[in-house]
């Protein structure tokens, strides 16, 4: 093709201008319905003023299961299915010979701990035993949100990971993506489901149902933006740990007295 330098420059400029203008127009058409509005949620609650955090003191947990029971009642989680938004795990480390140095750990959580635990291993065989309450960690870097193909799960400004029950297509990818097993499939709704830290309660000034139901204060909930909150005090003063910190999920459930066997 024969083309002068002047012609080439002309065509080149036209193409560049056209491409830029074209994409800008299309882009603005797509986004014009989506106002870049970043206002907080309405109704007397400003989600930019809060950032929630949760503390579990495993040394205080007595394994009564009132938390898991209250959670199911508050959030209409089916009782006849083995699904939980929060549950209690029991860890029993068995005595082994000093030579092997390998630990045998029995971990169970019958019905999430709601109906209690039966001592089915003789006490003489057990080295140590303890309960660990589990709940969604509401990670700051949540893998479950990353993998959702439709944008049906998200993190709110105040740091809570929620599921949009209208928008979820029930592909269960997030359930696979959660390294803590905190999500489940709700057969009644046909969507993925999970702990919301009782978002409908905390935005009204109430505590999550599990925290309120705990008789020993093993579960604490509070605002990490409030420097006087109990949660902040514990994080500042106690020796705390996270579940699977090496995954980089940045959990917001802080544990006191976590054993190395707890994953």
């Amino acid at each position: 093709m024969d083309i002068s330098r002047r012609e080439f420059t002309k065509i080149g400029c036209k193409i560049i201008i056209g491409a830029t203008a074209g994409t800008t127009i299309v882009e603005s058409l797509i986004t014009n319905s989506i106002a870049a509005e970043n206002s907080p949620v309405k109704g007397g609650y400003n989600w930019e003023e809060h950032f929630w955090g949760y503390v579990v003191d495993t040394r205080k947990c007595i394994g009564c299961g009132r938390c898991a029971n209250a959670c199911k009642l508050e959030n209409h989680v089916p009782f006849d299915e083995e699904v939980y938004r929060t549950w209690i795990e029991r860890y029993r480390v068995k005595k082994t010979s000093l030579e092997t140095r390998e630990e045998e750990v029995v971990i169970d959580s019958p019905d999430g701990g709601i109906e209690g635990f039966v001592d089915d291993i003789p006490a003489e065989e057990i080295k140590k035993a303890f309960f660990v309450p589990k709940i969604c960690n509401h990670c700051d870097n949540p893998p479950c949100v990353q993998v959702c193909p439709v944008g049906a799960t998200y993190t709110t400004k105040d740091g809570v990971v929620l599921v949009d029950y209208e928008y979820c297509i029930g592909c269960r990818y997030c359930i696979q993506g959660c390294p803590y097993g905190a999500r489940y499939f709700n057969t009644e709704k046909g969507t993925a489901d999970k702990c919301t830290w009782c978002y409908h309660r905390i935005t009204k000034g109430l505590l999550p149902a599990c925290v309120q139901a705990c008789p020993t204060g093993a579960r604490k909930f509070g605002d990490m933006l409030d420097k006087d909150s109990e949660v902040n005090k514990i994080i500042d003063e106690e020796r705390i740990n996270l579940l699977k910190p090496d995954l980089g999920t940045k959990p917001k459930v802080f544990y006191i007295g976590l054993d190395r066997e707890v994953k």
Binding site: V26, S33, G43, I62, R92, F131, Y154, K157, E166
Partner: protein
């Protein structure tokens, strides 16, 4: 411009317009309001009904003031009303809505107080085999004002 190119560009334009139209119909209005999700869903979850009212709503009015003042000073003050009595929001909103009687069985008290290997040692526990025969715990212990040996 050559006619075949014209046709191709027209077709491309139509496809783009159709895409924009279909997208504007399918994507909910509030999608992208706060981020890559439906903004309305936050309010939907926020507006869900509360079932647990909290202990203060039991003692606030004159309703259960006496028992509340006993409980709030005693050792079971960390055990909220609804932990044993069940979710009471409906009852708080409408006093005529009765609340189920609290479970007074031995097994219910045992959920916390029966001996368990994994329980913290300092937590008050009893061996159900040797303690209290088959009597209900509330026969000797007042759950609102328990006494300890």
């Amino acid at each position: 411009m050559q006619p075949h190119l014209k046709r191709a560009f027209t077709l491309l334009a139509l496809v783009i317009i159709a895409f924009i139209l279909v997208r504007s119909v399918l994507v909910p209005e509030s999608f992208g309001q706060y981020g890559w999700y439906r903004g309305d869903s936050v309010d939907e979850i926020r507006n869900l009904n509360v079932n647990y009212a909290g202990s203060t709503s039991c003692g606030e009015e004159d309703c259960h003031k006496i028992i509340y003042s006993v409980w709030v000073k005693d050792r079971h003050k960390t055990v909220n009303c609804e932990t044993c009595h069940g979710p009471a929001e409906k009852h708080v909103l409408n006093a005529r809505e009765p609340l189920e009687k609290a479970d007074e069985s031995r097994e219910y008290c045992g959920k916390c107080h029966f001996k368990g290997i994994a329980r913290p040692e300092e937590f008050p526990q009893v061996d159900p085999e040797t303690h209290g025969e088959d009597l209900r715990c509330v026969y000797c212990h007042n759950p609102h004002k328990p006494w300890f040996v």
